[in-house]
């Protein structure tokens, strides 16, 4: 049976059916994105940190806006050309639309990747250092001589699994251990399964006096002694907690040894002292860290503050988000960083930035660090309050940024796939029933315009304001 009213209008609505359908769907889409925009307002008003303004790559966002607008024009022109039976132009316009979608997604991928690789480290006084962890961040333990594995009789959320949660972090060759029974074993899936089943059998034996099997409970520690001391190199996601003498891994296993090093080496590209009570006493200026940037900070701050006072004598400098950022958030320049700094097209005199770049260079040299454009600091663990790459866990801004742009990106992908399908697989329909295909393209186009419409609001809200 054919679907009715794909070409001719239904008498009561005056429209072909798909058009009513797509508008009902778009109405629900408006509610979906409306809910998220509403969430954006709540998060922004309730934020207890400085909401990022012009922090994303504005050029990339602008290019993507242009690309989406262009694709919106081409998709509606594709429909018009199909109505006019200019099939060649129709196909060209559809192809351009799909290519634009692909460019948009490539840019989005680059933007996400840059965020995933970029880190924000909050120090205990509120100073935020941004930069890159070129070699990642690891906690090093040495002289590990004892592992305590915790095995449960009943199913438990955290149960010993050293093959997946300990061995991957052991440096060097596969380690050998002595069991409590005195056997020397190599720890692997088979030997652990044996140890585990022995422990469980022992626990069952102890429970035998209980009448019902469902009441059988118990935990047992399996202690393994290392034949030769081990070294562990642990990423931050691999453990629950640690002290000077032991570390608790994610499977509950406790490894005893010596904490060797838990400092963080960061290539700094930004110093944000906006949240520090006394910015001139920020931890960033301590002798071990970036003392060379203190005079740069003071000069830059005074320059921007004076400039603001001259330009807007009647305004309160503390209320200008832009001035706060310019004065208290130092971006450390390098050839790479310059490209990503549209903020400085804003007509500020160049002098303020020259000493910045010069001092940055000095600091890198004074610190005796080699190569790279950015100064490198080695942060003590006790000074770090929180660190994260620029992902949803960093703050609510990045949470809503990834939610909104991620959902929008999915819409771009699926919208483009539908249009690509019409272009590639509906050639026969184009020749035999072009009016039907025109209606399909119109409906696909309506969805595509909606995607563009959402971006029209996303771009200023996330990138600019």
């Amino acid at each position: 049976m054919d679907i009715p009213y794909t070409v001719t209008a239904r008498p009561d609505t005056g429209l072909y059916n798909a058009k009513v359908g797509i508008w009902l769907f778009l109405a629900s889409e408006v509610m979906l994105f409306g809910g998220l925009f509403s969430a954006y307002i709540f998060l922004r008003v309730g934020a207890d940190y400085h909401w990022p303004i012009h922090e994303l790559n504005v050029q990339l966002g602008f290019i993507n806006t242009v690309v989406l607008i262009a694709s919106s024009v081409t998709v509606v022109m594709a429909w018009a050309f199909l109505k006019l039976r200019k099939f060649g132009m129709y196909q060209l316009m559809m192809a351009i639309t799909v290519i634009c979608a692909a460019i948009f997604m490539v840019n989005k991928t680059l933007e996400y990747k840059a965020k995933f690789e970029h880190y924000s480290v909050k120090l205990t006084d509120g100073t935020i250092l941004t930069g890159h962890l070129e070699h990642g961040y690891f906690v090093h333990f040495k002289d590990i001589n004892k592992l305590t594995l915790n095995v449960h009789l009943e199913t438990a959320a955290i149960d010993a699994d050293p093959v997946d949660y300990v061995l991957p972090y052991v440096e060097g060759e596969s380690p050998k251990f002595k069991t409590e029974a005195g056997d020397e074993i190599e720890l692997n899936a088979a030997t652990f399964a044996k140890l585990r089943s022995d422990a469980i059998d022992a626990m069952r034996e102890e429970n035998k006096s209980k009448q019902f099997q469902r009441d059988w409970t118990g935990t047992k520690n399996i202690v393994l002694t290392a034949v030769s001391p081990l070294k562990l190199k642990l990423p931050a996601s691999s453990f629950f907690s640690y002290s000077e003498t032991n570390v608790t891994l994610r499977d509950g296993t406790i490894a005893e040894g010596k904490l060797e090093d838990d400092r963080m080496t960061l290539d700094v590209d930004g110093i944000d002292v906006r949240s520090v009570a006394d910015a001139e006493k920020s931890m960033a200026w301590e002798a071990d860290y970036l003392p060379a940037f203190k005079p740069v900070f003071i000069a830059t701050r005074d320059h921007h503050q004076n400039e603001f006072k001259e330009k807007y004598p009647s305004r309160d400098p503390s209320k200008s988000a832009t001035l706060q950022t310019e004065s208290y958030f130092i971006k450390i320049h390098s050839a790479k960083a310059d490209e990503n700094m549209p903020g400085h097209e804003g007509g500020h005199s160049a002098e303020a930035h020259e000493p910045e770049a010069a001092a940055g260079h000095d600091a890198a040299e004074a610190g005796g660090h080699e190569g790279g454009h950015h100064p490198v600091v080695v942060l003590k663990k006790k000074d770090i309050a929180f660190f994260s790459n620029f992902t949803p866990k960093l703050n609510t801004y990045y949470a809503i940024y990834f939610t909104l742009t991620g959902l929008h990106g999915l819409h771009v992908v699926f919208g483009a796939l539908v249009l690509l399908y019409f272009l590639v697989f509906n050639g026969k329909m184009m020749r035999e029933d072009p009016e039907h295909l025109a209606n399909r393209v119109e409906v696909g186009g309506l969805f595509w315009h909606f995607v563009d419409l959402v971006w029209i609001f996303l771009f200023p809200l996330l990138y600019l304001l």
């Binding site: 609505t13 005056g14 058009k19 009513v20 508008w23 009902l24 109405a27 509610m31 409306g34 809910g35 925009f37 509403s38 307002i41 709540f42 309730g46 207890d48 940190y49 400085h50 303004i53 012009h54 504005v58 602008f62 806006t65 242009v66 607008i69 262009a70 919106s72 024009v73 509606v76 022109m77 018009a80 050309f81 006019l84 509120g126 906006r274 949240s275 009570a277 910015a279 807007y312 305004r315 503390s318 209320k319 988000a321 832009t322 001035l323 706060q324 208290y328 097209e345 804003g346 186009g445 315009h449 563009d452 419409l453 029209i456 609001f457 771009f459 200023p460 809200l461 600019l464 304001l465």
Partner: protein, 111 residues
Amino acid sequence: MADNLEEIQKSVKKYLVIGGLLLLFTVITVWLSYVELPTHSMNIMVGMIVAAFKASLVALIFMHLSHEKKIIYKVLLFTVILVSVLFILFYMTHGDPLIFEGFDKTSIKQH
């Protein structure tokens, strides 16, 4: 929907003009965001007005909402009402204290 072919022929040019306007207003949005208005809220307000204007161009011209059948407007009327409720939700919380003892006050310090 423009049904006769002559109108469609003309609308191709119109689409290009609207596309150009949208690009122009995108540049204006970026530029305006770097202009230091008395308060940042005013920047946001202006930015949203420009965005709303651009969105209405897309909706009216590209999505043919300037000449659509009645039933579509009926559907959209409900959408507009319901989406307004989502934004009014925020005003209902306006009297709530956003800063209280639980917040770390030093972290929002202004210099």
